[in-house]
């Protein structure tokens, strides 16, 4: 009897715990998404409604005026700059990182472990502490305020992650697969290209997505390395716009939405690879 009661009590506790967990999860989700929804709402409201008390999440009349004003200011050029820098950095970093990641698994060479350690250590050091010497250096060697400055700096930050993620994958591919391909008459690199690389797709996607988020979202590197308005990235242009039109919250939130849409859509598309990449790396150590 008493055992029966205890079990029932347990069930009640379990149900209560489940409901509490669900409510807490809902609250957490609202805290995470709410501010972004508010930004979208502000960007679509007419100016007289933006400052209305009490506020409403759903605009009574939807307007795209704020977006139009940003395009009038040339925000699409900054968007294009961000996209080009990001694409150049991610593609070059993933190619270089994959080659190195493959070499670390399949080749023996001098100072291999020291080189690997250097990649891992540079992953831990955030670029910010070295940004000022980099700026002074770039001014002296003529790279400051050039279109290649940001792709180089972003790529250098992404390469170690690409090495880390692809190396972990290549290590899990049995070498017999390549040997079998060699028997079929493939050269070593044809085997790597046609047999090993397609399987590395998750690692390549994870490294690219991580690189995209890093490069696209950066503000501090681009504001310190680029001076000309026509080479500015989207986040920097947004902060300059704020400097001139600090109270134009409709346009500022429209800019925030434009800057946020690509990384969030990319994250939602590739979340499995990103989450998998980070959790696998951490579990494997």
């Amino acid at each position: 009897m008493s055992g029966c009661w205890a079990a029932e009590g347990n069930d009640a506790v379990k149900i209560a715990a489940r409901i509490l967990t669900a409510l807490a999860a809902l609250a957490a989700a609202i805290v995470a998404i709410g501010p972004i929804a508010w930004a979208v709402s502000t960007s679509l409201k007419r100016n007289n409604e933006i400052f209305l008390v009490p506020p409403s999440l759903i605009p009574t009349t939807v307007t795209f005026d704020h977006y139009a004003r940003l395009f009038h200011e040339g925000v699409h050029w900054n968007f294009l700059n961000s996209a080009l820098y990001t694409f150049a950095a991610v593609s070059s970093a993933v190619v270089l990182g994959t080659l190195a990641g493959y070499a670390f698994v399949r080749f023996e060479f001098r100072a291999k472990s020291a080189m690997l350690l250097l990649f891992m250590a540079s992953m831990a050091i955030p670029g910010y502490a070295l940004l000022l010497p980099t700026q002074v250096l770039f001014v002296q060697i003529g790279l400051f305020n050039t279109p290649v400055a940001l792709p180089i700096l972003y790529a250098a930050h992404i390469v170690p992650f690409a090495v880390w993620m692809t190396r972990a994958h290549f290590a899990s591919v049995p070498i017999e697969l390549e040997h079998a391909a060699a028997v079929d008459g493939y050269t070593r690199f044809e085997a790597a290209w046609r047999v090993v690389l397609p399987g590395a797709k998750p690692a390549l996607i994870a490294a690219s997505a991580f690189g995209f988020l890093y490069a696209w979202n950066d503000y501090i590197t681009s504001t310190t390395m680029i001076d000309s308005p026509d080479m500015r990235t989207l986040p920097v242009a947004l902060i300059f716009f704020q400097g001139f039109h600090g109270r134009d919250w409709g346009a500022l939130m429209a800019g925030a939405v434009i800057a946020t849409l690509p990384p969030v859509v990319l994250f939602l598309c590739f979340r499995r690879y990103l989450i998998g990449g980070f959790s696998e790396g951490s579990v494997k150590g």
Binding site: A32, F51, L96, F107, L130, L131, P133
Partner: protein
């Protein structure tokens, strides 16, 4: 690709295959290594060199020895900035790690819905820090239009100016920074929880352990390695955080959010005192190295 293939064919035909693979291996690693060294290692040395010189506005007035460092450490505002960096870093950790732990436990408990929750919580992490700062500046605006002020107004509470009050500014930047980043820690902790065998919990239930005891005696010891990874990644990331502060408070009010990272921004990039700025950069770089070495030792020790 063609060049590499040809090289490989030549290598296969050469007399010493071991030397050939050594060369190929190096040839594959060196381009990646060159980029990383050029951008991470070179500036560290150049920064140290610059920190020993009087450089203003990109003009070099010559060698001054350790004068930049002496002035830096003689200035009480430097020590205040270091103290604020510690407050920001450990304040953020104290908020982010328990939240991430709770989120990870919830995510495991909710099963399929947990994966949805993790995705939702990670959306702010996919955003640009400076855009996050801009967004929260708008939400916290203490005048009509500001969401927080409007919500408070419903309850008859007057607006609070969080960003221009020296007492509230630091907690505010901490909270906004954690809002963007804590879910990243939840990924690693969720994966860590997934590694704990469910049998252990079943056995513990049979033994009559309470939920709290199960957490203390099973979850905590087994999650410790993941927790250590989270702590190391977040400590370094929070210590170097500057974009949230630039976007929200610009180091103010009355320098109450001027961390070492923000001081570096102000002295090096705004005042263009690049000699002293590089001294700050080198100090930050060394603190980072110390943190990394410390955590590598802890993590390495934990594995054995």
């Amino acid at each position: 690709m063609n060049v590499a293939t040809t090289r490989q064919r030549n290598a296969a035909g050469s007399a010493d295959p071991a030397a050939a693979t050594r060369r190929t291996g190096l040839a594959l690693v060196v381009p990646a290594l060159a980029v990383v060294v050029a951008v991470n290692v070179l500036p560290a040395f150049f920064g140290f060199y610059s920190s020993l010189r009087a450089i203003f506005f990109f003009g070099d007035d010559g060698f001054v020895g350790l004068r930049n460092y002496a002035q830096l450490f003689a200035d009480p505002s430097t020590w205040q900035a270091i103290r604020r960096s510690l407050v920001f870093t450990f304040g953020s950790l104290a908020l982010a790690v328990p939240l991430a732990m709770l989120a990870a436990i919830g995510i495991r408990k909710l099963g399929a819905w947990g994966r949805v929750l993790l995705t939702v919580l990670l959306i702010p992490w996919a955003m640009s820090p400076i855009v996050v700062a801009l967004l929260w500046k708008w939400i916290l605006l203490p005048s009509p239009g500001g969401l927080l002020a409007s919500i408070l107004a419903v309850f008859g509470i007057p607006p609070i100016n969080l960003m221009s009050n020296p007492d509230y500014a630091m907690p505010t930047v901490i909270a906004v920074g954690v809002w963007r980043t804590f879910a990243f820690a939840a990924i690693i902790l969720t994966a860590g929880l997934g590694q704990i065998p469910a049998d252990l919990y079943r056995a513990a239930s049979v033994d009559g352990l309470t939920a709290l005891e199960r957490f203390r005696r099973i979850t905590m010891p087994l999650i410790a390695p993941s927790l250590l990874i989270v702590l190391s990644v977040l400590t370094i990331s929070y210590f170097n955080e500057v974009q949230i502060i630039i976007g929200l408070t610009s180091g103010g009010p009355i320098h109450s959010t001027t961390t070492l990272g923000y001081l570096l921004f102000e002295v090096g990039f705004v005042e263009l005192n690049q000699g002293r700025g590089n001294a700050i950069a080198i100090v930050m770089f060394l603190i980072n190295l110390l943190l990394i070495v410390g955590y590598v030792r802890l993590l390495g020790g934990g594995r054995k």
